[in-house]
Amino acid sequence: MAVDIPAEVVQQEQVGPGLYRLSLYAPQITRSAVPGQFVYIRCTDNLDPLLRRPISIHGVNRGRGELFLLYQVVGKGTALLAGKRKGERLGVMGPLGRGFTLPAPGQRVVLVGGGIGVAPLVFLGQELVQRNNQVCLLVGARSAHQLPVGKEGYTAPFELAVATDDGSCGHHGPVTDLLEKILAGEGADMVYACGPRGMLRQTASLLARYDVPGEFSLEERMGCGVGACLSCVCKTAGKGGEPLQYRRVCVEGPVFPAEQLVWD
């Protein structure tokens, strides 16, 4: 069950330009957190900025009760977050939302992360490896220094490939090129993706073309984070041929089956 707790900063580490990895002591959250879920963080004690900020769960150390977040500074809230130091406390609500559905053990899965969208996929990859799934993580970024994970020296318990827009690391081009190569070649049983809308849209069309199921984690502007205000909706195809409907990213998502999403 979700809780709202004052979580202590265990470690704040800069891992790239405007990129941070934050570790929080939050055993009440790590206990039940699953990949794809997020936390809703109060970045300040005063009213500016007013709202909390949603950040995906990037990993957990259940033994130590530590929650890991990977985030990019893009505005006021994330800048305040980056200023938090060891020992400070933050209001953290979580775990929130519906996570990824896990594939059958042994299945081959591909994870596609665009930019900071890779954050929840690392948590997912770690869990899948433990379940004896064959995991390949594809990471896309504008250039080598902006890679959130996958830089030289990065070790992961799964296969990893990188694509950059400027060719400074790995494949020169969009990360979806790497996905297409896999789908056209050895194939995959399941694809999980998180990233910018354009990347997700392209991924959706590849999944349709190669007839592979997928799940995407979405981002939308939030109010309450718990399903009460209907601020955070995305457009989905209705269940069983019903008309289009708006569904709440904070509770019905952030993870949705790829084929239910409507891209307009």
């Binding site: 979700a2 109010g223 205000c229």
Partner: protein, 306 residues
Amino acid sequence: MIKPNLAVDVAGIRMKNPVTTASGTFGFGSEYAPFVDLNRLGAIVVKGTTLLPRRGNPPPRIVETPAGILNAIGLQNPGVDHFIEVALPYLRQFDLPVIVNIAGDTVEDYAALAARLDGVPGVAGLEVNISCPNVKKGGLAFGADPDSAAAVVRAVKGATRLPVVVKLSPNVTSIVRLAEAVVEAGADALSMINTLLGMAIDIRRRRPALANVMGGLSGPAIRPVAVRAVWQVYQALKVPIVGMGGIVTAEDALEFIMAGATAVAVGTANFINPRATTDIIEGIERFLVEEGVSDIQELIGAAHMS
């Protein structure tokens, strides 16, 4: 000192303390149950309900502004039948008056909703939303014109025996004129304020930040406007008022009570602090003890005494 009395009565809706939730910010209650003991609330006002399910507006539906938010939800809700069959049975397990916020496109819609909810076990009262700025028909179209507002209220009163609270908009020249018209038409209580019509531009995209273009401003930014509205209406009319608009702390809530509100509703603050309602109840009680006030009633409209 003995525990001060916090209980209030809003047109027959008996509340164990003056704190309720603002419609649309607290869902149907279950969403916040992991964080708040719903039994502790004075009452709950649920999300705006319509006769048929509503899809609502396209996203983005919310944008943060200085000390506030703009929203344009467009009354997405599963419809009154779903509310009665699914949400209400859940709420009945709590010791908690349930006030149903209703909205329609036409006077007939409001009357049909009132009739549908009349006599349904677990419903303590109706809040008539004639002040939503985010829908094309209904909403503000009724709330900005005294005659139309009165017509809605008469139709609702004619269709139900439940206490009827009418929710007023600040987007009018004189909120007192609207208040007088709806009280004349039979409103048992008034709630105020709904959101202020506003807008923001995303300068990178050179487009309005909300897909709906305009939205309703709520949060601390609107509190002084709301306190003023309560003050003016209290001065003009003898009718219970549920005050709201930017309440975050017990001190904020006490401003509304001293301006003339019998009860207060907490909205946007729930998003920041899911326990805002119960924190405010505790804060009000502490204030009464500190000030040696034995009954909250003594403070209602207290700022008006010279």
